[in-house]
């Protein structure tokens, strides 16, 4: 069965609305503050459990949702919706009780010490606030590993939320089923994936591509990892000599072409862990999970392509370029945006590839000299760019700027595909 994004989205929407539908049906849904208080709880808990479910990161499953990057975005919005709805839930119930008296309204929020089920709900909400605070930058930009560690609290928040619901709400069978799926997703990520989904690799080469950029070649200890061009992996370096990031997993895009036995990844020193990786020992071990993502998904098979790469965002395109057979008929314009010549890594390799494949046109853009990428630059090199399938990969600033220029030029949004790792 070919993964279909529409089917995946439809299934997720159905799962999201089913409990609310069941609750309305059971209750007969007369609209009141008190009903809204319970409805926000039902929908909020559903969103929380689905956020847990979408965090499992099972290779291949992400393709049903348009790739892992989009699945992360869905997970992010589900989590945000859960938090907002579950904040509204106690307030609405309290407002409902305020019709009787203010002390009654306060008693809904602060019940006696014996009401453990209500306190379980509060603790769940408090944990959500703690683990979501870095996600939504309550106290500024968080450090990746701290954000990740705090996010583990979500499991406790889910368990406490379920306990609260089991004690106070109905539909226990339904919540048991949803809860079981969510906890299964947690256990997959924490226990199963670590043991069975990660595969052993050895770093067989580390080639500096320029200052602060290294391309690692990873050889599978057994078998091989099939990937498609533009996909990415989660890499866990195990080199004991690493100053930072040993045993930490980070996502990196694969730069080797599909079909090659070894896996290559390009790593730019954007943080402590990636900086340490610049000098990783050749011969050291690493674990790889994946592949994930679906960057190249054409909506019009006949259209030519426009690629816009920003810095290390060149990687998915590099994988495609390397996969081109000599003389292969393609119609691709690659705009490679970098600060200046010294940052134009892999440029000579790209030029050589363009010489071999006449349909591949290469346009370096030096924004240090030429300013931000704009419509005029694109129009001059690739006049029909708005009619092409457009892929953009790079820092979030480049992607949003490119989207603005492309929209202005009349390129349909459905034809513009982008990927970045700024989902945090």
């Amino acid at each position: 069965m070919i993964p279909s994004r529409r089917l995946g989205d439809a299934a997720l929407a159905l799962l999201a609305l089913a409990p609310l539908g069941a609750a309305c049906w059971l209750e007969g849904a007369a609209l009141s503050l008190s009903f809204l208080g319970r409805a926000t709880a039902v929908l909020g808990l559903t969103c929380l459990l689905l956020a847990a479910l979408t965090s499992a990161r099972v290779p291949g499953l992400d393709l049903w949702f348009g790739g892992l990057t989009r699945l992360w975005r869905l997970h992010h919005y589900l989590g945000a919706a859960a938090f907002l709805l579950l904040l509204a839930h106690p307030l609405l119930l309290s407002f409902a009780a305020a019709r009787s008296s203010l002390p009654a309204a306060a008693a809904v929020l602060i019940p006696g010490p014996s009401a453990w089920s209500v306190w379980a709900g509060w603790l769940s909400l408090a944990l959500m606030a703690v683990f979501l605070a870095p996600t939504f930058w309550f106290f500024g930009r968080p450090e990746y590993q701290r954000w990740k560690a705090l996010h583990a609290l979500s499991a406790a928040a889910v368990v406490l939320g379920l306990a609260h619901t089991f004690a106070l709400g109905g539909m226990r069978t339904l919540w048991a089923a949803y809860g079981a799926c969510a906890l299964l997703a947690f256990s997959y990520r924490v226990f199963i994936a670590r043991r069975w989904a990660r595969r052993g690799f050895t770093v067989v080469a580390a080639q500096a591509a320029g200052r602060g950029v290294v391309e690692l070649t990873l050889r599978p200890d057994e078998g091989r990892l099939e990937h498609r061009d533009g996909q990415f992996i989660y890499l866990t370096p195990l080199d004991p000599g690493l100053a930072r990031g040993r045993g930490e997993e980070h996502p990196y895009t694969v730069s080797s072409p599909s079909g090659e036995a070894d896996l290559r990844v390009v790593i730019k020193d954007l943080g402590d862990a990636s900086r340490a990786l610049q000098t990783v020992a050749v011969g050291s071990k690493a674990a790889v999970e994946g592949p994930y993502g679906e960057f190249f998904h054409k909506s019009d098979a006949d259209a030519g392509e426009l690629w816009i790469a920003g810095g290390v965002g060149l990687t998915p395109f590099l994988s495609r370029v390397r996969a081109l057979a000599p003389g292969e008929a393609v119609d691709i314009h690659l705009v490679y945006c970098v600060q200046d010549e010294s940052r134009a890594h892999f440029l000579s390799e790209l030029e050589a590839a363009a010489a071999r494949a006449p349909g591949l046109r290469l346009w370096p853009h030096f924004f240090g000299r030429e300013g931000p990428l704009n419509e005029a630059f694109l129009r001059a090199r690739c006049p029909d760019f708005a009619a092409r399938e457009i892929y953009v990969c790079g820092p979030p600033e480049l992607i949003s700027a490119a989207r603005v220029e492309l929209r202005r030029a009349g390129a349909p949004a459905a034809r513009v595909h982008s990927e970045d790792f700024s989902w945090l």
Partner: protein, 117 residues
């Protein structure tokens, strides 16, 4: 989105704090004296057994909860099943043997219409 989430969280904290503080400052409705009202027989109680007219007998008191029922945190059916009946057992066990909290008892007294004969 980040700014919105932060604002929503702060708004939530302020609203919750406001309710709790106001509840301490504003005097609640005074409960009628426990002997207020008249003596009511089970037959009369049974005549108030609908959602539009719902009386319940709890621990010897008779209470008119018609107006309150839609504001109760539990789904309406949980309460309305007991209209017109002796509901002491239901009040004493919210499920899993948990009784209501003292604040609920105080609130209940404000609905008193009489004493069960």
């Amino acid at each position: 989105m980040k700014r919105f989430m932060y604002s929503a969280f702060v708004a939530f904290l302020s609203s919750a704090a406001m309710i709790v503080v106001l509840a301490r400052l504003v005097p609640g409705p005074r409960a009628p004296a426990p002997d207020a009202g008249r003596t009511i027989a089970l037959e009369e109680l049974a005549r108030h057994a609908t959602a539009q007219d719902c009386w319940m007998a709890i621990e010897g008191g008779v209470y008119d909860v018609t107006d309150y029922a839609p504001s109760h945190p539990a789904p309406p059916r949980v309460l309305l099943d007991w209209c017109g009946r002796e509901a002491t057992a239901a009040f004493g066990d919210k499920g899993a043997g948990r009784p209501h909290i003292p604040e609920s008892r105080e609130l209940l007294e404000t609905f008193r219409v009489g004493t069960l004969r």
